[in-house]
């Protein structure tokens, strides 16, 4: 047991210290979101619960191991369209426990603890463990986050891209493709740094933003990004102040408060789902331009509305593209 932990610890240490990874030494033990998971060998197959986990596995070149996917927020990234078309989509939303188990996966890769976690609606991690199926949850959903508080969980500290990179590296390690993990993370880090540099060159001192995800009804108080999530990180990294003060991931905040705060930029989510009228980006834009109060905000009158893919507002590899889009838009917005 001690030797196993030592091996795992030295593996973890190596992953931080060396630019190029060695082969994974099995058995591999990881502490993942407070749960110890052990792999005797690289899993032969994997089922994903969450689009972010799916796209990370695709990006790592592990698409051939994916037996089933679930919890889709938007279309798959264009570069994976062909690959994804050949993989079973078990459910657009939550898969049932049995449908996941029926795939006999060597691993269940999870994006959100509210799907698979202490009170997961698909199952608890113990339920999978009882059947000998290991689960891995992306650290982005548990590092510095309390998933027992608030409906979407509450961030205790701001989301950082490092937790995403940690997830990529650990998944790569589990599947013994650490070099691919290194390469992917290096690429993402470089793009992230370039986007931040671009925004910082603009000297955005005093500029602020609000991220509007959707609204239960068109005129009603909207769901906007709170202080701790991926959008908060993006705003922080680019030098924008978040006008929303709540620590919840996606709090409901009144248009009255948002209009009074008069953010410099409004970031609106575009998505394929059509559960609420406000899911449609055209309806969002129509509302922003026609509502008697909201339409008076500087961001609307000066046309500083940035449209981002909704899934890029969740902790995922799409955060990088979102940072790039935002930096690009800010550069073109003439904020001086």
């Amino acid at each position: 047991m001690f030797r196993r932990s030592l091996a795992a610890a030295s593996c973890a240490a190596l992953s931080l210290a060396l630019p190029v990874q060695a082969d994974t030494v099995y058995p591999l033990t990881l502490t993942n979101c407070g749960v110890e998971v052990t792999f005797d060998a690289a899993p032969e197959s994997v089922v994903t619960v969450g689009q972010a986990a799916t796209e990370i596995l695709y990006s790592l070149g592990l698409g051939d191991k994916v037996q089933g996917t679930s919890v889709w927020f938007t279309d798959v990234l264009p570069e994976f369209e062909v690959l994804n078309a050949g993989i079973a989509r078990m459910a657009d939303n939550d898969p049932s426990f049995e449908s996941v188990v029926a795939k006999r996966p060597g691993l269940v890769a999870v994006q959100y603890e509210w799907h698979v976690g202490a009170q997961g609606i698909v199952a608890t991690r113990e339920q999978f463990a009882d059947l000998g199926i290991p689960t891995y949850t992306l650290p982005a959903d548990c590092v510095g986050k309390d998933n027992t508080a608030g409906s979407d969980g509450t961030r205790l500290e701001m989301y950082a891209m490092d937790s995403l990179y940690q997830g990529i590296m650990e998944l790569a390690q589990i599947f013994d493709v650490s070099e691919r993990g290194e390469a992917l993370v290096a690429d993402l880090r470089a793009r992230e740094a370039a986007a931040i540099e671009k925004a910082q060159a603009l000297d955005l001192d005093g500029a602020s933003a609000v991220f509007w995800f959707s609204s239960a009804e068109m005129d009603i108080d909207p769901y906007v990004a709170g202080q701790g999530g991926a959008p908060a990180y993006m705003m922080h990294a680019l030098g924008l102040e978040n006008v929303v003060r709540s620590d919840e991931e996606w709090p409901v905040v009144s248009w009255e408060s948002i209009a009074r705060a008069n953010p410099t930029v409004i970031v609106a989510a575009r998505m394929e789902r059509r559960r609420f009228d406000a899911d449609d980006i055209d309806n969002k834009l129509e509302f922003l331009r026609s509502d008697p109060v909201v339409s008076l905000m500087d961001a609307v009158t000066k046309d500083r509305i940035v449209i981002l893919d909704a899934h890029s507002m969740d902790p995922s590899i799409r955060n990088i593209a979102a940072l790039e889009t935002l930096a690009e838009a800010l550069a073109g917005a003439d904020l001086q």
Binding site: A216, D221, Y223, V252, S254, W255, S257, R260, P292, V293
Partner: protein
């Protein structure tokens, strides 16, 4: 010679009318001034003057918009909803001679919830039907079903209340089923927030829907105050007094359905107003409907404006669903009614 008694009879009516209007105006003003972000009374006055008389005061346009386009319509709709829901309670309690009758007990809110959820989550109507229209349809359907069930069960007052309970359970179960079937956490939260009442999306077009509905309901109720007095001795006694029982029932039930379904579709399910306000007003003005009807309408309006204010300022930076506030006041009120009426229920 006839003028003196007529004016003395009018004096209390005028007195109550002026006092009632004054109370309502103060409540509306409070609803506009008090909110999440502080706005001064002077600024509110300037905005009113600008909009009503083109006074030309210089006011920040966003503040002016918050006052005129958000808070004023919201407060007016709260008033109309409060009046409409309270009147619905008065009518139902009179018609079925049961102190517990109110639109919510009779399954209307549960039906509205199911209708709204069916539109939102199941996509019923393919986007052509809004959440409000779905709620309106659900509320009306529930009312019709409950009335039909009560009639099939014998048509008595107890049957109506029992049918209402059965209807509420059925529609609440359907709502839960739809949510459990396909909603994610965000959707469930959106629906729950709506089911508990929410005035944040209210704008001027809603005022033009809510106030005529409440006004029509108030007129219908005022027209039939004598009939409602007679109904308190039972439908057969009312018939023996020369009242066209069927006609009165149809008009009043129709008015209640229209008012409740309209209000619920605009602002969600706000409970306890129809139950508690008529009882409180009976305590103040007595049980004659000539006074009870206008008093309940006024009290309902003021109560809901106050509840909306509380819902906006109870937790800073966060809005509490107004249904939670009305229930916090209404549930103890309900308990008092139960105890006071223990022999009559």
């Amino acid at each position: 010679m006839q003028a003196a008694p007529a004016s003395s009879a009018l004096r209390p009516v005028a007195y109550w009318g002026v006092s009632g209007a004054a109370i309502l105006l103060v409540a509306i003003l409070a609803g506009v001034v008090i909110g999440e972000t502080p706005l001064s009374l002077a600024m509110v006055g300037a905005v009113f003057a600008n909009n009503l008389w083109n006074a030309g005061f210089v006011v920040d346009p966003i503040d002016a918009g918050i006052i005129w386009s958000y808070r004023l319509p919201r407060t007016l709709v709260a008033a109309a909803c409060g009046a409409g829901l309270a009147l619905s309670g008065v009518v139902l309690q009179a018609l079925v001679r049961n102190a517990l009758a109110d639109p919510y007990l009779l399954g209307v809110s549960a039906g509205a919830g199911t209708g709204a959820v069916a539109v939102t989550i199941l996509g019923l109507g393919g986007g052509a039907i809004g959440i409000s229209a779905g709620a309106f349809g659900g509320a009306t359907l529930a009312f019709v079903l409950v009335a039909a069930l009560a009639r099939a069960a014998g048509g008595g007052s107890a049957q109506l209340v029992l049918a209402g309970i059965a209807g509420s359970q059925l529609f609440n179960a359907l709502t839960s089923f739809f949510i459990a079937k396909s909603a994610n956490a965000e959707q469930a939260r959106g629906i729950m927030f709506w089911l508990l009442g929410n005035l944040s999306g209210v704008r001027w077009p809603d005022v033009w829907l809510a106030t005529p509905a409440a006004g029509f309901g108030l007129l219908a109720c005022l027209w039939f105050t004598r009939a409602m007095d007679a109904f308190s001795f039972g439908a057969s006694s009312a018939a023996s007094l020369g009242i066209s029982v069927r006609q009165v029932q149809i008009v009043l039930i129709g008015a209640v359905t229209l008012m409740t379904a309209t209000m619920v579709s605009l602002v969600g399910s706000i409970g306890f107003v129809g139950l508690v306000i008529p009882h409180a007003m009976r305590f103040v003005v007595g049980s004659r409907h000539g006074l009870l009807v206008p008093a309940s309408a006024l009290a309902g309006a003021v109560f809901l404006i106050a509840a909306d204010i509380v819902s906006r300022i109870l937790i800073p930076g966060q809005v509490v669903p107004i249904g939670v506030v009305t229930a916090l006041v209404g549930a103890p009120g309900f308990a008092i009614i139960l105890i006071r009426n223990r022999r009559r229920l």
